[in-house]
């Protein structure tokens, strides 16, 4: 079965909604700022790429879950699958998130979680308590969207957003659902800020510099995205606009170390995603590109081992968007599709002196006018989890 992407949505640090996000990518907007969502004064690093978005007044759910609901609604609308059009359709949900509706800060955690909260929780607190479970956001998405197919959260660290696309494709292929809604969300939490801080994985400069000689770490970001997947034949039959087809998918595990990347694993994921597509056909690589010293050199080696002498434009969006962990793969896939349709390749911000160890055609400075038809998207994560997806323009 050929799988088409027929609906998109995004909430990102550089743009809310598709047009704004696309303009942000094209103009090289930078989403990195001082942290505003909570008091970060005790943290080593006090900058991040937050999304300027508040949850609706009176919501009993977490901000992450509300962001997920918002992008889900928008993606279904973009796919022209509003409530009425979904009657009789079996819809399934794949959520990509590491932290889901976990309370983001110490004060919020103390409000909600035992043993810190005071007294017996009031009825209004119950949804917020249960929203902290990894599957809760996916459950609420199923309820709100009337999705009676499979509903799951995939939580494979920073590769989750691309794994979600593969899982969505498989659910369509096995006939479990007519349409799969992939939603990703990650908000900034003190848990991640402290954790990446003690791992010395965060930049202490103004922002991350993927593939640059002076790169000294990544930077956390927030984001949410929605993608609607369906059988390409079905999409054509109902006259849906097709953003792209999922032309290939690969996933692998390093099986060597929890946090030290091994180029062999990512290379296997990329080769699987390419399948029989020759490397000559690939027009652009949306890199994982976290800007940690270890990731970028491992990714560059993996790309060179797969692509050989062929030089392909490469972008890391994390310089602008920060690293939204479980959401990043899906958010950056949406960014990739917007750029493909807009006829440009967005720049990697803050690259001044390319690291000779990362000898790739890194697009930097300003966006490059480029009609990319076939694009490889990478997402790699903690635990040596790797995922790649090959996108082919829909027209």
């Amino acid at each position: 079965m050929r799988v088409a992407i027929t609906g998109l949505s995004a909430l990102t640090p550089i743009g809310h909604g598709l047009e704004d996000f696309r303009a942000g990518l094209r103009d090289g907007r930078d989403g990195v700022r001082d942290i505003a969502g909570f008091d970060a004064c005790h943290h080593r690093v006090r900058r991040a790429a937050e999304v300027d978005w508040r949850k609706p007044e009176g919501s009993p759910y977490s901000r992450a879950t509300e962001m997920a609901l918002a992008v889900a609604r928008e993606a279904l609308r973009d796919a022209a699958l509003d409530d009425r059009e979904r009657t009789g359709l079996r819809l399934g949900i794949i959520l990509a998130s590491n932290q889901g509706g976990m309370p983001p800060s110490v004060p919020r955690y103390r409000d909600v979680c035992a043993p810190y909260r005071r007294g017996t929780p009031a009825a209004g607190m119950v949804p917020r308590m249960l929203d902290g479970a990894p599957s809760a956001t996916a459950d609420l998405l199923a309820v709100r969207c009337g999705a009676t197919g499979p509903a799951l959260n995939v939580s494979t660290a920073c590769s989750a957003g691309v794994h979600a696309l593969g899982l969505g494709r498989d659910a369509l292929g096995s006939g479990e659902a007519d349409v799969m809604l992939v939603v990703s969300v990650e908000v900034l939490t003190e848990l991640a800020l402290a954790g990446f801080g003690v791992l010395r994985a965060l930049t202490e400069g103004e922002g991350p510099r993927p593939f640059d000689q002076r790169r000294d770490g990544t930077l956390l970001g927030e984001g949410a995205a929605g993608l609607v997947l369906e059988d390409a034949a079905r999409a054509r039959a109902r006259g849906a606009r097709v953003w792209a087809e999922v032309a290939g998918y690969g996933s692998s595990t390093d099986g060597t170390h929890m946090t030290r990347p091994d180029p062999d694993g990512p290379a296997r994921a990329m080769r699987q995603a390419l399948g029989s597509t020759p490397v000559e056909a690939v027009d652009w690589i949306k890199a994982h590109g976290t800007a940690t010293p270890a990731n970028d050199v491992a990714e560059a080696r993996a790309v060179r081992s797969v692509f050989g002498a062929r030089r392909v434009p490469v972008t890391s969006m994390k310089a602008a968007l920060g690293h939204s962990l479980g959401a990043s793969g899906a958010v950056e896939t949406v960014g990739t599709l917007l750029a493909m349709q807009g006829g440009f390749v967005p720049p990697t911000l803050r690259v001044e002196q390319l690291d000779p160890e990362c000898d790739l055609d890194v697009v930097r400075g300003i966006a490059r006018a480029w009609e990319a038809e076939t694009v490889l998207v990478n997402a790699f994560g903690f635990g040596g989890n790797n995922a790649s997806v090959l996108l082919r323009a829909g027209h």
């Binding site: 035992a114 599957s135 969207c145 999705a147 494979t156």
Partner: protein
Amino acid sequence: MQAHDGGEPLPDLARVVVTGVGMVSPYGAGTRPFLEGVRAGRPALRAIDDFDVSACRCTTGGRVPRLDLKEFDAAGAFRRMPRATQYAILATAEALADAGAAAPIWPGERVGVFLGTYRAMTEVSEQIWAKLIHGEPRFVPALLFQETVTNAVASAISIRWGFKGTNYAVSSGNASGYQVLQLALQALRAGRADAIVAGTFDLFTEANQYDMDDLGMLSPSNASRPFGARRDGFVMGEGAAVVVLEKLETARARGARIKAEIAGVGLAHDAHAFAGHHPEGRGLAEAMRRALSASGAEPREIDYIGAAANSTPGLDRAESRAIHAVFGEAAREVPVSSVKACTGEAMAASDMFNLAAAVAAVGDGLVPAQPAHEADPECALSVVGPAGTGRPVRTALANSYSYFGGNAASVVVRSCAA
């Protein structure tokens, strides 16, 4: 890959079988003590004594007893791992040995590790939040943070055995286990792996116990009585369990001992209400229908149902209604039991406990029993008591149902004996 519409037997190429089972449960490490316990209807529920439960109404739990880990692996790195990772590794070691694969028999790239969980690594996250609340961010131990990601357990298994195929870590609430089976069926049928280590883990902490007690979910009488007239809430359980899955064809070719076939999985969501399930068990009924259809089995062929019932008034009633909706008159006859009578509600881990019992049942005909208790006439099921059933079991159905989310799953397990 084509959808299987039911009715026709699957070609051997598409059939997936269980060749190994392993677990750590409230009975301790190993599948045998678990099977002996649940088949005798002898609960592994005890007074919780490793944290202070004095402010809870329910003070009983199915905790995993302290294990002699040194005997299994004396390395400090293993003994410092989170409990979830240790239990999943112990379960995987048992399942691989059971499958005759203790020594590597597949290329590492061809083995996937797919794990499901409800609570994920909360036991670790709670420790980090405690450091942030009582101390400062810089006091968070660096090696602890990397264990907070849900896929840390699958990664540890990958690294230990050199399994370099796909790792998935997923959560569909309580139904995570059978969700994982479905992903494994897809990967094996598509030829993307030679074997999948598929499993679940879920633990409970002091905070989880207080959360559930505060929400009024736990049994104030400290008893687990699925489908019982006097059921009044569940008792917490925990553990990890793993099955090794292969295609029938390749398992036969290597001369593996085949324990059972995973004939079909059905997944469905109530899409009814947040933090609750459908009162009539709508999603679970649909999941059972899909599992039966995917396996080409008729309801009358089912010899045993491993229930998801956890001793809460609502969930057990909903499951009973769903079974009646799918099985009609036969619902009163088919033997039913829930291993949660003995292990407590171990969330996603219960899925695999239930599956392991069903796999063993189609092997030797013995099914889990429940301690004798007053039956609820509203449930009108044939609940297996300590005397057993005395009927052969060729095909079993195992259920899973999320009481907080409405995610439902069902799996048909079939004997492979000729």
